[in-house]
Point group: C2
Chain length 206, copies 2
């Protein structure tokens, strides 16, 4: 099982299955059919079965999947068995909101520091983590072996900031800046462009 052969979209869906299983666990459900799990995750049963075969999980015909076992296996595949440290760069409106977003910690991600071009600016509330000047990025990343960054800087500086992050050892960027980052092949970027999401919806309701 090489991670390179699992398509990116499949990895996304594994996260969906993991969440659906978490709800089943909370409801004390012990086994689940592929049809029921697929429905809970919003995908077709054939898609679910195909996705799970990527890591050798075939279920037991007629019995369905063991909720606890499949959930544990997914955590392992996704690499979220341990708390994953992350930094956030750009503590403006959106960045500050994300720092207060409880979802990250709940899902195993710990934002350990934020960085901002104006680190000493007065902020309306305590953000829960220190806000440091950009010059500190290299030092913090190397001392804490951090490989993931959330990028919430303005579009016109995003590429330059990303270059600095990659130089400092970042391998994965969750990019909220509305530009396409140019990165080396060994670096992964996931883009969250809220305006694009709205534009996409707008197309479908015409």
């Amino acid at each position: 099982m090489s991670k390179l052969v699992i398509p990116r979209k499949t990895v996304y869906r594994l996260s969906l299955y993991y969440r659906a299983l978490a709800r089943l666990k909370a409801n004390k459900v012990e086994t689940v059919s592929s049809a029921a799990l697929a429905k809970a995750a919003g995908v077709k049963p054939t898609q679910l079965r195909k996705d799970l075969t990527y890591f050798g999980q075939f279920g037991t015909r007629g019995l369905g999947y063991n909720v606890l076992a499949l959930s544990a296996q997914l955590t392992e595949v996704l690499g979220t068995t341990h708390l994953q440290p992350v930094i956030l760069v750009g503590a403006g409106h959106l960045g500050s909101a994300l720092l207060r977003y409880p979802g990250f910690a709940k899902e195993g991600f710990e934002v350990i520091a934020a960085f901002d071009a104006d680190a000493t600016r007065k902020r309306s509330r305590d953000l829960g983590v220190p806000v440091l000047p950009m010059e500190e990025i290299g030092r913090i990343l190397s001392s804490q072996r951090i490989k993931m960054a959330i990028l919430t800087v303005p579009g016109n500086v995003a590429q330059e900031v990303a270059n600095g992050l990659i130089e400092a050892g970042v391998l994965a960027i969750l990019n909220f800046a509305p530009i396409i980052l140019q990165v080396p092949d060994n670096v992964v970027v996931n883009n969250v462009d809220l305006a694009i999401e709205l534009e996409n919806l707008s197309y479908f309701i015409q």
Copy 2:
């Protein structure tokens, strides 16, 4: 040209092309080759050419695309020629940050009202739009013919709130709640699950 035959991923990429063209326009570039436009949008040239054929745009061999003309055509296809009204439901941390996010207005979306279960709660800043009680949703939607909603309520109430929105005429939901919404076939949901995005990155840096 029926909108039903354009795949969802293509529509996303049309937004990327539109943004790349906007930057070219700002730089006074008049024509662009498919290779250059594809690079600016972060896709392969063959992908770009294929995507544009969905709405009959083939460019001129050897001359590339006219930046202004292609840009105008994309706006039309995406349905963003006019300002699109949107409501936001759930004015907590994330919802409040989104209300202050300048990207929506810039891209042609106007959040005209926010709704919250606790509309009268004191908020640290002015959000720029009125925050109304949930009971007002139906009245506002029908009087202003709004079809799009941004959903930033907690996961445990998201389905119920979504049901109410759909009943009131909403056809498109940008969902930030970490659950899979069950909706009728005529309703489109785009999910933005920040924890899933991080989890996905986490897989790739293992």
